[in-house]
């Protein structure tokens, strides 16, 4: 018995030594695969592990598609573009350290990415300290273009203010003015709640109840049982991601989805695919849809080309159609490269000045522009009813788009923003 134990220990020791060596020694000497000497390097910071891995992977696909499109046209400034990906793990300190690594060690000229608000803010700070361009493609917190705004950061996805204002009016018109909120009890949730309260004041609505669900709540039953006695006109769900899936699943099990209309400021395809069709219902804000002309723009060749390119290259592996996350990634990278081409340089200050305020057409309807004052992308936001089983042709096509809102009608005005965001360029 002891003989075999020693043999195994020696083996494991050897394996352990090997693992340690692998961990430290070898990777240091492997150059980045496929490194071309003159490539223009852009750093991509997304979560590839943890709860936001799925949106992170989807954003990366969009980014890669933009890079491929530009490289086919000859690259930017005569150089091919190469992306270097880092897993920021939805952890702000890791995000900051990887950001520094991408710039200082890998010599990236710009950064792009992030999904969680904490990481967006963290990379914004790190990139601002380094004076490097950063496109926050997927972090929604208002502060990125609000009190934390910086000259080097541009934000593509809609802000929480925009999300709330795009949907609140539609919900009130469709269902009534008495709202019941299930709100996540952290910064993002509070921001959404404040924005909703703003609309409620304007339309003279009432709040039947607000449940602030603390961090870590996986079981929403305690909150859901309070909804029926409160008799709201509509149940507004502000939780996101996995919490959204859990909440909706449980709401369905309590029979709430049949009793009350449900809606909210934002829903993404990713969590919806995690729900059984019975729980897929309601009226929600959406940031893009691959199938609707209201989102893509009638006759918008670039948009339809984007969707068919995705189907050609990615449908086999992903098995799902493109989501808003691919859109964020694509638009961010596309505009960053366009800015560099227009400014004829990769110098962050010059590129930032070239991008801000410039109107452009892209893979969504009406075109948009990154506002000069806060660098928020001003583009439409849409409202959709959920089709639980999609369409007969496409069971994944869950969004039935019912409304489109212009950005100026849903975002805070320049004057209001000026009170919060003070942006200065380096002299």
């Amino acid at each position: 018995m002891s003989g075999s134990a020693f043999n195994r220990r020696t083996f494991v020791k050897g394996a352990g030594a090997g693992a340690a060596a692998l961990v430290v020694g070898v990777p240091a000497f492997i150059p980045r695969l496929g490194e071309a000497a003159d490539a223009l390097k852009i750093g991509v910071l997304e979560p590839y592990t943890g709860t936001y891995a799925f949106p992170g992977e989807n954003e990366t696909i969009g980014i890669q598609m933009a890079v491929d499109a530009w490289n086919k046209k000859g690259g930017v400034l005569g150089r091919q573009i190469e992306i270097i990906k880092e897993d920021e793990q939805s952890k702000p300190d890791v995000a900051a350290q990887k950001a520094r690594k991408l710039v200082n060690q890998d010599k990236c000229v710009a950064l792009i990415g992030t999904v969680s608000s904490g990481s967006s803010l963290s990379v914004q700070k790190a990139s601002s300290d380094m004076g490097i361009l950063f496109f926050a493609s997927g972090g929604h917190t208002d502060d990125v273009t609000g009190k934390n705004c910086t000259w080097n950061t541009f934000r593509t996805c809609h802000s929480t203010w925009m999300e709330a204002h795009a949907t609140a009016y539609t919900l009130a018109k469709k269902f009534g003015k008495r709202f019941y909120f299930i709100t996540p009890d952290y910064a993002y949730g509070h921001a959404l709640q404040t924005a909703f309260d703003d609309v409620i004041k304007q339309i003279g609505g009432t709040t039947a109840g607000t449940d602030l669900t603390p961090l870590g709540t996986t079981d929403f039953s305690s909150y859901l049982t309070k909804v029926t006695p409160a008799k709201p006109d509509v149940l507004v769900v502000l939780v996101q991601g996995d919490d959204y899936t859990n909440c909706m699943k449980q709401a369905d099990s309590f029979g709430l989805l049949k009793k009350f209309p449900v809606g909210g400021p934002q829903v993404e395809l990713e969590p919806l695919y995690g729900l059984a069709p019975e729980a897929r219902t309601g009226v929600w804000g959406i940031e893009w849809s691959y199938s609707s002309d209201t989102c893509l723009g009638k006759g918008n060749k670039a948009a339809h080309q984007f969707v068919s390119d995705y189907y050609a290259h990615y449908l086999n592996t992903q098995k799902k159609p493109p989501t808003a996350r691919q859109c964020f990634g694509y638009v961010s990278m596309d505009r960053m490269l366009a800015g560099m081409a227009a400014a004829k340089t990769t110098d962050s200050v010059k590129v930032a000045r070239a991008i801000e305020g410039e109107k452009f057409q892209s893979i969504f309807a009406d075109g948009g522009y990154y506002r000069k004052e806060d660098h928020q992308l001003m583009w439409p936001m849409w409202v959709a009813e959920i089709r639980p089983n999609g369409t007969p042709k496409d069971p994944n096509d869950l969004f039935n788009v019912v409304a489109k809102h212009d950005p100026d009608s849903i975002e805070q005005s320049v004057a209001e923003k000026a009170k919060i965001c003070k942006m200065t360029y380096p002299s």
Partner: protein, 290 residues
Amino acid sequence: MLEHVGPQLFNGLVLGAFYAIVAIGLSLIMNLTGTINMAHGSFMTLAGYLAFTMIARGTNFWFAFLVAPLLAVLVAIIVERTLIRPLYGRDPVYSLLLTFGLSLIAEEVFHLVWGANTLPFTPPAVLSGTLALGFMNFPVYRLFIVLVLVLAFAALALFLYYTRFGLRLRAAVQDSEMIAALGTNTQMLYTINFGLGILLAGIAGVLAVGLLGLNMTTGNTLLMPAFVTVIIGGMGSLYGSLVAGVLIGIATSLMTLYVPAASEVIMYILMAVVLTIRPRGLFGEEGLFG
């Protein structure tokens, strides 16, 4: 306010029942060998994924519900024999770190095999819908969870107290060396004990994915509450885990009425109180773990 308390108590009962199933499995493993199984959540998730795959391939829910935990037990037995056995007798810190490492590996394996997206999992029609209970409409699925817990606990009690094997298991918890001296194959006892704990985890896992979304991080969220339940109930006492689970479930639910912000942290506060005043827990045995 009183009409709110009733539903919350009921909610809490069900939530607590669920914590209890997970905690009892954890406790079984800890009591006998001192192994702190940080991979317990991973085994739960594994059973959930296996059940999902089986159902996707055409088997019905009940078959999957029975078989998936057994498959998880198979994996557990291999893990116990190769990786956990060498740690018996050592400081529990080592088993904690090793099983934590296993949980990291498991998460990425799930990512590789089943992808990063949440998978839709619906309980069968007979378990869906609500039961009108007068003061509230209650999901049938949650009542099913309580039923399963009661059955599982009864089965476990029968096993431990009315079979010879159960007798040996209980004796081994008291004094491993003595029972080894009396001729019992203690190594096999440990393996079976571990398998039993994971069987409960597997059952809890399949139940969990009816309540929560199924993805690679599902099991991890339930791990800490399970540990807290074991501590409060008392290590060495399965009955304690049951009572503590229900206690925590009710405390959490009632907190959402009065101080919602504290509802998720109340269990840690309770644990701190118990550990300070009576570290062996409500029903635990003195001397276990020092």
